[in-house]
């Protein structure tokens, strides 16, 4: 039919006040597909309840709980993890879910060709820091035999991982969408396995309907191992265009039960409203907005003192003051990472009068007193944020430096970010991230050693780097080696030190010790002052009072559907 | 021919007048809020079975008068005062409902332009039938039958088929007949016809007028608005002369037209040209006809005042090499042929036309609409390339010789003076444009020249600064003539130079043209569908039909002893204006 067979838009599907049954409507950022092995917003939705991995995160996101696997053990040396699948765990079509299915899934994930099946278009969502033996090597083509990869289905119910180095965060890392199992028959079968009619999953919910660009309907999966503890019969997902104008009108109109709240003004209004403020769920400081250097033939920001001046000259308080849900950021690493401390920051005071005074001094010493003679900086961004204006504004006020924003269409943004620019174009690109707050992710994956070293390359080395990267004729192994060569020798020593320190995390299986190394590495990264932290953003969700069991955690999926129930008598 | 109707209708006293109009005043609200009085106290009486002509110049209020009778005024217009008694009903004061029973039923209206007055998207028969069904005079099917019958009555052949046709599928004459049929289908006692034949060719006009005469003879009263005194004389019993919204004079045709009491009527009569006038003129010469606008004549109701032209200053133009033979014709056109190609089909507009124009003399070209007159004019002017044949200007082939020096020797005056002037140029700039284009004289000289020419055509040099739209039609035509004269041409091609103008203005323009010819010795190719104009102005006349010249010769010969049957037909269609002894029979 014209409207697809999506359910009613209203959220009022609940039958009475009992804990079981009912439906809710949630908003999600639109996606083109739901293959968890490719990085799109779809992978997060799958994670929320369509597929289930070996383990799940606890609702607060600080630990893991059993999923498909009900128990697991680690070897002494911290290199071997053995997972035992539940008895009788099945796919939604009733067929047994086996360790072989996992092995097959991970082979697909790491497949260096990736193209043939035509299923994925985004980048592989495999998380390198998991450190599975030979996984990265197999994926990049260095190792060609999948048997050499440290993943093995010992029997139907036992799955064994071998790591290249101890990784205390390994089990937590398995909660990432790329590690979700896929049903081999469905994926390889005729027809599009992501469509409701072909869907075979193992999560608490099945895909019942999907109207592209509009909505999705999920239905409770009776075959799910823990089905008796799944409350809701139905989940309606409204798909919202990324960056489109979303107001809270549907929420306040009762059409939506759970939605993210992004607009500062909305947040202010909700906070001020005694009823609405009760419905807010806030995860503080879980995201970071930052500036990363652009490469230009004008070397001015290659000078560490200049960058230091710019870093200290940022009026972080004013910038964060734009929104109630933003805090001035002293580090890139999110403060909700366990063990984070202020000591990591590059300076004792990242803002305030002293910081500005120091910045001014640095600038004057570099020959630009009050910003005189300083070239106009460019801030490249893919869409317009008030923070951009605030950055420009505070630099001008604090340092007398002129900056302009270059807000470009996404296609230009992606090209321009890593281009070598001419003299007239020097400055930073603006990025922001909100998602996983674990040490490996924040230090190794997100602002990775490669990225930092790349940022620390001088103009000449960067051109070399680009040449190698774009050399189609080179074999993958050669390219990796040459890039490593350029990065390790061409970059600033502090960046190389950071990379080396990160590598040391592989050498210990002791969690506490490893965390210390991570902390240390992150501090080194701050000291390079290559990437400038700007602000930490809180994540805010609102949910109708009837929604129960909601907790927001520091992973982009935020919560699992299976933990929710509705209580229509709640007000 | 009119059919009795079955339903009750307004009772009329046999002896009472059919229509009695008293003190009718109609005004229009203007954009600035003022009321413009278009009809000012019109009073007349129409007796049963008689026909009244309303004559007068353009804008005198004729149409507004008759439209006021049926209250067919645009939104901005309203009747301010007066009465119009039709039988026992005052049409001015009647309720809308009463008026509706009268419109179409008791009073039929014939509009000037049938193409516009017939709905283009409804078949003619249906439009006729409406006049019956709306008055509930008969059933739908009966109405259809009567529509067909009435179409037959007004002389449309094959009425059954024509009734199903749309207006645009009928010829002009048939449309006008259909329009008349629509007016009479309900058997009205009064038919009001507003210029019913002005848009038609003379020959067709004659047929339509005959039809109206027939209706009148059947006892229907008639009011006919016309600017053609000949039409009035031929078909009407009484006449009402209007000027500036007022009735100037009224009475029976012979009272008014044979012995006008008012100078305005006299002026109209004087200005009206009639075939045979020249023959009757004392000296009978065409080269110097008597002025139409005599000093004794009163000021005409237009703002054209025509002070006498002044002599020209020295020429700016270096004369073209004098021709070898000053007695040879200035223009010789030989075997011109022109066909227009279009996807709708080819039109052979001009077939083997040859003509000569003598120096300082006038060749008149007559023929009905579409006969190819304008095309000949354009071919002679060199605006069209002939398919075959050639035009020699003083011995030079116009198409070999593209030099501007030759071109300037022949200029053109168009029918529609406004359309031919550049709207965004001042009168002065319009006049000097041809000089400017050909780099003749300095700007100062050209300005001086424009002033002279304006004086020559009877305008003031100060007028040079005004724009064309600020002049009246007659003045615009004077400017157009001045413009044509600017490069001192030897030939002037005039394509219907007066047909868009009132008779009084026409008279002035014709006088002006005669005078210019007399003084400057310019030769004319004068095109007109008005035989009287051609007779008055021409030395020689050529008659065109279907693209070919069917007869040509000396003016006197053509008008006195026409040879071609078509020329006969044209002359027969003429309606005399003046009294006894000037009937068309004289030419038969």
């Amino acid at each position: 039919s014209l409207f697809g067979d999506s359910g009613g838009g209203g959220g009022g599907g609940g039958e009475g006040g009992e804990a079981d049954g009912g439906s809710i409507t949630v908003q999600a950022t639109n996606f083109a597909h739901i293959d968890p092995q490719s990085i799109t917003f779809g992978m997060w939705l799958v994670q929320m309840g369509l597929l289930e991995g070996l383990v799940l995160q606890t609702p607060d996101g600080t630990d893991v709980r059993p999923g498909v696997a009900d128990e697991w053990e680690v070897s002494e040396d911290g290199l071997t993890y053995t997972f035992h699948l539940r008895d009788g765990v099945t796919w939604s079509n009733g067929e047994p879910l086996t360790a072989a299915d996992f092995e097959w899934t991970y082979q697909r994930l790491l497949d260096p060709a990736r193209g043939d099946s035509g299923v994925t278009t985004g980048a592989s969502s495999y998380q390198v820091p998991l450190g599975i033996l030979n996984a990265e090597e197999y994926n990049t083509g260095v190792v060609t035999d999948y048997d050499e990869v440290g993943i093995e289905a010992v029997d139907d119910q036992t799955l064994e991982f071998t790591l290249a180095a101890p990784n205390p965060g390994f089990v937590m890392g398995l909660t990432y969408p790329s590690m979700l199992p896929l049903n081999p028959d469905a994926v390889e079968g005729e027809g599009d396995w992501q469509q409701p009619e072909n869907w075979v999953g193992n999560g608490p919910y099945n895909l019942a309907a999907w109207t592209a660009n509009s909505s999705m309907r999920l239905e409770k999966n009776p075959e799910y191992w823990d089905a008796e503890n799944v409350a809701l019969d139905e989940i309606n997902v409204q798909l919202i265009e990324q960056g489109s104008i979303t107001t809270t009108v549907p929420y306040e109109n009762g059409e939506v039960d759970i939605q993210g709240l992004g607009e500062p003004a909305e947040i202010t209004r909700f906070l001020a409203d005694p009823v609405l403020s009760e419905q807010m769920y806030v995860l503080e400081n879980s995201g970071t907005a930052y500036l990363a250097p652009l490469h230009s033939s004008n070397p001015i920001i290659e000078d560490p003192n200049i960058r230091r001046a710019l870093n200290l000259g940022l009026g972080r308080e004013e910038i964060a003051g734009i929104s109630e849900m933003t805090a001035p950021a002293s580090t890139l690493t999110s403060p909700i990472v366990p063990g984070w401390s202020e000591d990591m920051a590059a300076h004792d005071a990242m803002w305030g009068e002293d910081a500005v005074a120091e910045a001014q001094q640095l600038l004057a010493d570099a020959g630009y007193p009050d910003g005189e003679g300083f070239p106009t900086l460019t801030i490249l961004a893919g869409s317009d944020f008030p923070q951009l204006d605030a950055i420009i504004d505070t630099w001008e006020t604090n340092l007398g430096i002129q900056a302009v924003k270059d807000v470009v269409e996404v296609g230009v943004y992606v090209e321009r970010r890593y281009e070598m620019h001419d003299d007239g174009y020097v400055g930073f690109w603006y990025g922001s991230f909100s998602g996983i707050s674990t040490w490996p992710y924040q230090v190794e994956q997100l602002w990775s050693p490669d990225m930092i070293r790349q940022a620390g390359l001088d103009g000449a080395s960067y051109e070399q780097f680009l040449a190698v990267q774009n050399d189609e004729a080179m074999s993958p192994g050669d390219r990796t080696a040459q890039i490593e060569e350029i990065l390790s020798t061409g970059t600033m020593p502090e960046a190389q030190a950071f990379a080396e320190r990160v590598a040391e995390t592989r050498e210990t299986s002791d969690e506490a010790e490893q965390q210390e190394i991570f902390f240390d590495a992150a501090s080194l990264r701050e000291d390079t002052e290559l990437l400038l932290p700007v602000a930490w953003n809180h994540v805010v969700y609102v949910a109708q009072p009837r929604v129960q069991g909601l907790e927001i955690r520091a992973q982009a999926d935020r919560y699992y559907f299976k933990d929710l129930w509705v209580d229509d008598s709640a007000e | 021919m009119s059919r009795a109707s079955r339903t009750a209708r307004i009772r009329l006293d046999e002896n009472a007048p059919l229509l009695d109009v008293a003190g009718l005043r109609t005004g229009f609200r203007r954009a600035d809020g003022d009321e413009f009085i278009a009809v000012d106290g019109v009073t007349f009486t129409l007796r049963q079975g008689r026909a009244l002509a309303i004559v007068g110049e353009s804008g005198s209020g004729k149409s507004v008068t008759v439209r006021s009778l049926l209250r067919l005024l645009p939104r901005t217009g309203r009747i301010l005062d007066g009465q119009a008694r039709f039988g026992g009903t005052d049409l001015v004061g009647a309720s809308d409902r009463t008026l509706r029973t009268i419109r179409g039923r008791e009073v039929g209206m014939v509009f000037q332009n049938a193409m516009e007055a017939l709905n283009p998207t409804i078949p003619v028969g249906r439009q006729l039938a409406e006049a019956l069904t709306w008055h509930r005079l008969c059933s739908r099917s009966e109405a259809r039958e009567r529509a067909v019958a009435t179409l037959g009555d007004v002389g449309i052949p094959d009425p059954e088929r024509r009734a199903r046709m749309y207006p645009f599928q009928l010829s002009g004459g048939m449309r006008q007949r259909a329009m008349i049929a629509m007016a009479i289908i309900a058997g009205p006692r009064l038919v009001v016809a507003d210029e019913p034949t002005t848009a038609l060719d003379v020959t067709v006009q004659a047929q339509v007028l005959d039809l109206l005469a027939e209706i009148k003879d059947s006892g229907t009263g008639m009011i006919m608005v016309t600017h053609d005194l000949g039409v009035a004389r031929r078909f009407c019993d009484d006449v009402l002369v209007m000027n500036q919204g007022k009735v100037v004079e009224s009475g029976t045709i012979s009272e008014v037209l044979d012995a006008p009491r008012e100078p305005y009527t006299q002026m109209l009569l004087d200005a009206t040209l009639e075939v045979g006038d020249v023959a009757r003129a004392p000296d009978g010469s065409a080269t110097a006809p008597p002025r139409l606008v005599t000093a004794s004549a009163p000021q005409v109701a237009s703002d054209d005042d025509a002070p006498s032209p002044t002599p020209m200053a020295a020429s700016l133009v270096t004369p073209a090499a004098a021709s070898d033979d000053a007695s040879a014709p200035i223009v010789v056109a030989e075997h011109l042929d022109k066909t227009f190609h279009s996807r709708g089909g080819d039109t052979h507009a001009v077939r083997d036309v040859s003509l000569t124009i003598e120096r300082g003399r006038t060749l008149g070209l007559v023929g009905e609409s579409g006969s190819g007159k304008s095309t000949v004019a354009r071919l002679v002017m060199g605006l069209y390339e002939p398919d075959s044949g050639r035009v020699l200007l003083d011995g030079h082939d116009l198409h070999d010789e593209t030099s501007n020096a030759q071109r300037r020797r022949m200029q053109m005056v168009f029918q529609n003076p406004y359309g031919s002037l550049l709207p965004h140029y001042t009168a002065g700039a319009n006049i000097t444009e041809s000089l400017r284009l050909q780099d003749i004289g300095t700007p100062a000289e050209r300005t001086e020249r424009a002033a002279e020419l304006l004086r020559l055509v009877g305008l003031s040099p100060d007028d040079a600064r005004r724009y064309p739209q600020q002049f009246s039609g007659g003045q615009q035509q004077r400017i157009a003539i001045a413009r044509a004269l600017a490069p001192e041409p030897e030939v002037l091609v005039c394509d219907e130079p007066t047909s868009a103008l009132d008779v009084s203005i026409q008279a002035q323009i014709l006088d002006l043209l005669s005078e210019i010819q007399e003084r400057l010795g310019v030769a004319y190719l004068l095109i007109s569908h008005n035989l009287a104009v051609v007779e008055r102005m021409s030395d020689e006349v050529a008659v065109m039909k279907d693209g070919a010249i069917v007869e040509r010769g000396d003016r006197r010969a053509i008008f006195a002893t026409p040879q071609h049957p078509y020329t006969h037909q044209l002359l027969d269609a003429i309606l005399p204006v003046r009294g006894v002894g000037a009937t068309s029979a004289a030419f038969a």
Binding site: I245, T247, I322, D406 | R407
Partner: protein, 266 residues
């Protein structure tokens, strides 16, 4: 109506020209103590936005931008339309055929693509947005000019000019062109609001002008805050509506002025 509108537009023009004098603050001046101040806040008549920038000042400068875009785009598109339209209409034949073909293509072509391309290649700058609008606009106008020229070509004065010895180019440029301007002026006055709307629309798609205060961007932002800070959308929307109305009515007025017949009949 047209008369009042003319004054409104003149006033707006003055505001645009003297924006720095009219606006109480520079458009980018931030006031971090006064964010999202509502209408009527002392010092900020129409309130402030998320950065504490004065909305009135941004409106004033935004109008300047909008008007500049519309004006320059119109000048360009009119110039192109005139040259193409006159050539096609006057010469007919091949030139005409090409224009008609181009019209067909442009009519069915997603000009959005042009906009994206221009904006992506040349940045979200004044010039690319302006060019995008001009490219979309010229075809309609060229067609109009062409039709106009074709009617004028049949007027007697063209023949009169030929009779006086004027050549094609002279006729086309000196006699026909000035008379074809009238109807074009009408479409131009309607095109100004259309251009402003388009600029705003591009902003909504993230393709508008980024480095100047723009109404589109303001409305775009206002929509986001529609429930929480309605003042951010109300003033731009009203300013937008008033401007568009004024231009539309001027267009009506211009059309009436050129359309003597309908006035006479009415």
């Amino acid at each position: 109506m047209a008369f009042i509108s003319l004054w409104v537009v003149l006033l707006l023009l003055l505001v645009a020209i003297f924006a720095p004098l009219v606006a109480p603050y520079p458009p980018d001046a931030t006031d971090y103590g006064q964010q999202l101040a509502p209408i009527g806040t002392p010092g900020h008549l129409l309130g402030t936005d998320t950065l504490g920038r004065d909305i009135l000042s941004r409106l004033v400068f935004g109008f300047r931008t909008a008007f500049l875009v519309a004006f320059v785009a119109e000048v360009i598109s009119v110039a192109v339309a005139l040259s193409v339209g006159v050539v096609a209409g006057y010469r007919g034949g091949r030139a005409d055929g090409v224009l008609m073909a181009a019209t067909d293509v442009m009519y069915a072509f997603p000009t959005y693509l042009f906009a994206v391309l221009l904006v992506t290649v040349f940045g979200r700058s004044f010039w690319s947005v302006m060019a995008a609008i001009a490219i979309a606009g010229w075809v309609t106008q060229a067609r109009l000019v062409r039709a106009q020229v074709m009617t004028l070509k049949k007027r007697d004065f063209v023949e009169a000019a030929q009779g006086m010895g004027a050549k094609g180019p002279t006729i086309a440029t000196r006699y026909i062109l000035p008379n074809a301007l009238g109807p074009l002026l009408v479409t131009t006055s309607f095109a100004v609001p259309a251009a402003i709307t388009t600029e705003a629309g591009l902003s909504l798609l993230g393709l508008g002008i980024a480095d100047m205060p723009s109404w589109g961007a303001m409305i775009n932002e206002g929509v986001r805050f529609a429930t929480s800070s309605p003042h951010m959308i109300i003033s731009p929307a009203i300013a937008f509506a008033v401007t568009l109305l004024a231009f539309t009515w001027i267009g009506d007025g211009v059309r009436d002025a050129f359309d003597i017949t309908s006035e006479a009949r009415a």
